[in-house]
Symmetry: C2
């Protein structure tokens, strides 16, 4: 079964907007047992839309179209779809009532433009839009040689399109095409590169049953492993995937920090909350990034006391209580300094746990002895203080990111001891 | 002149990788006086590549192709291009020497795979790749009715593709198609919404000469205005655009913070450096985001002393010296508290300037009197302290971002006084 995606919009072609709609749709299809064979991105022009529709019709059984419908546009998609399907626009009472209800909730008046938006091609089935004024449109067209090709048009506004896909389109496509049951489980790892990880789990991967596939999804500092299983019995499939996850946990326990939508800041936050414990961070090379990650989680004020970003040595001394002799003797980027930073912060902020970072993020500041990428991370816990050394790369941005993730993972492991 | 882009790669279709290559290429074409008419994203399969090439050939004079070349892949693109252009692979001595030189610099041995990578289709011109092992390929094919269609194949690795486009492909396309001279100037604004800005500069926009176009490029908290002029005389065009920028500066001086590739953290950093002044931040609702932004700039340690993320009231009191009575009487989110935070930090960190933030970022913590989005920002300068009130929206992420940008812009204006 071949699905194609057509995204309409000049803003996509001139690089003004990155086409996240297409990749989101592609991923949702995979997660539902389908697969997109082509994305076609075209301008808001009648000729171009007609050509893309005709091209997709030759190859695909389902064509998903987004864009070209919003209230400030010329509604070129709707008019062109009428032409392509040889039909006409008719006023749709139900669509109009939905817009009236939406606007009443928001306290806006309904305009003449909204009345025009309630006109739909006569031969399509309208798709409700809970979050906006333009309905989706579901067309079916006889195919040469039998069967039908389905064309589905959606707004280009990401959250409207996503709600329509999730609530209406994907469930109906699954029903129609009787796809197998699909189950996904993502295992999140930190602190290990993709190729090293691949070598470490190679025999496990090769022994996976044929109906369970593995995908590597690397991000800076993190590698996600996604298992996708396909089967007829939901319960058996879940059991099979769970048992593969258990095997993986046995192989690489030290790298796994979570599953599916977890993040390190979320996992660490949950652990602190469960233990009724508090955290503070003393950041030199990470410059506040760890604090920023932790406080991105709603409710983090329950366990996060705060942070000192100690970019200068005087702050390390005066606010964190690092001894000037330590900095003098070992340097700011050293096991001794980062340990004193963590202890000083833990005491002064009266926190159960403290993270401290000190490193040479680059691009300048490296020496032969301490090149760019040299990093120390210390964790002060109620029962001990320890520090770890890392040598990351030469990108400032990635060094900051990797140090922050590594520090959160060190704390996570300590919390689990 | 029509250009089309073909991106090859399963990883794009399953949503594993967002197709930033296409939008970057689209933008670079616009910036050079070209325009992409279509992006086609397809899988790593021979049939699909052949079909996409044939389709693009019908519509375009130039076809840019990326992906399907990397060392771990099957080199499907190169083999399929040979088939499409009816040619064969031949070993290219120059390409091989380039790979040898690249690997010698990195200290890696050259492998058999690299030898295969040095094979290029006989009829193409190789394009040097300074950053990787796979060359680009430039083909020309006779068109029905005269002229030639240009097909250019590049690696999918973004930084290799970008260097090839910038250093080799775009200059040659400009020469070949004798494009008009194009000049761009981007004006960066903060603290004003797109629709309000549009209304404010409407008459200026309507009076722009026809060869100068305006594009609105909104990002969270920032609206970029890009002027694009097209002409034959470089000098006159620059003068015309400069004069439009001067008019705009007169209309909205309070919102403009920079031009082109400036960021607020970069502009503020430059101003501090010029004045030999130092900065520190006391962050409550922004949770370290301002520190993170400032320290993302290489060399920021010259002017940034550090930060205190004061998430709890005790930190506000003990580390920043806010009086408990102030918090008791006015609350943590108040003009009085944020002002004391800024003054306390300025003194304790011995900084010339201090920024303090306190607000209710959400989603919880709002009250009838102080709803989610309520924000106070204070700036302590050597000669004065002042605080400003804002009511942002209900998204935690956007509230943090908008507060951080607003705070940096307040400091920028103060530095310029």
């Amino acid at each position: 079964m071949n699905i194609e995606i057509i995204n309409i919009g000049d803003e996509l072609l001139i690089g003004q907007v990155i086409n996240t709609n297409a990749s989101w749709m592609g991923e949702q299809l995979i997660l539902s047992g389908f697969r997109a064979g082509q994305f076609t991105i075209i301008s808001d022009s009648r000729e171009h839309i007609l050509e893309a529709l005709a091209g997709a019709e030759k190859r695909a059984q389902v064509v998903l179209i987004s864009g070209g419908i919003g209230p400030t546009r010329d509604d070129i998609t709707k008019h062109t779809l009428c032409e392509f399907f040889n039909t006409r626009l008719v006023f749709n009472e139900e669509a109009y009532r939905d817009v009236e209800a939406l606007f009443a909730r928001r306290g806006y008046p309904v305009t003449e433009l909204n009345r025009l938006q309630a006109e739909l091609p006569e031969t399509c089935t309208g798709i409700p839009n809970k979050l906006g004024t333009a309905r989706g449109m579901w067309f079916e067209k006889d195919r040469n040689g039998g069967g039908k090709t389905i064309f589905i048009s959606m707004p280009g506004v990401p959250f409207e399109m996503k709600a329509m896909m999730t609530d209406y389109i994907i469930p109906r496509l699954k029903e129609r095409f009787n796809t197998p049951y699909i189950h996904h489980k993502t295992i999140l790892t930190q602190g290990v590169g993709e190729s090293f990880l691949a070598a470490r789990i190679e025999s496990w991967e090769n022994a996976l049953p044929t109906h369970i596939k593995l995908a590597y999804l690397p991000q800076p500092g993190i590698v996600r492993l996604r298992l996708t299983g396909e089967g007829k019995d939901e319960k058996i499939l879940h059991q099979q995937i769970d048992s593969e996850v258990v095997k993986l946990q046995g192989l690489i326990p030290q790298y796994i920090f979570g599953y599916d939508l977890d993040t390190l800041e979320l996992v660490v936050g949950k652990l602190l909350k469960e233990r009724n414990a508090t955290l503070a961070t003393a950041e030199s090379c990470t410059g506040g990034t760890i604090a920023q990650m932790i406080t991105s989680i709603p409710g983090s004020s329950a366990y996060f006391k705060g942070s000192v970003v100690a970019y200068s040595n005087e702050i390390k001394e005066h606010i964190l209580g690092v001894s000037p002799e330590t900095i003098e003797k070992y340097g700011a980027v050293s096991k001794e300094t980062v340990t004193e930073m963590a202890i000083g912060l833990q005491q002064r902020f009266d926190a159960d746990y403290a993270i401290a970072t000190s490193g040479i993020a680059g691009p300048d500041g490296g020496t032969a002895e301490k090149p760019v990428g040299t990093t120390w991370i210390a964790i002060a816990a109620p029962d001990e203080v320890f520090a770890e050394y890392y040598l990351f790369g030469d990108s400032r941005e990635r060094n900051i990111r990797r140090t922050s993730l590594q520090a959160l993972n060190l704390l996570r492991k300590k919390l689990l001891q």
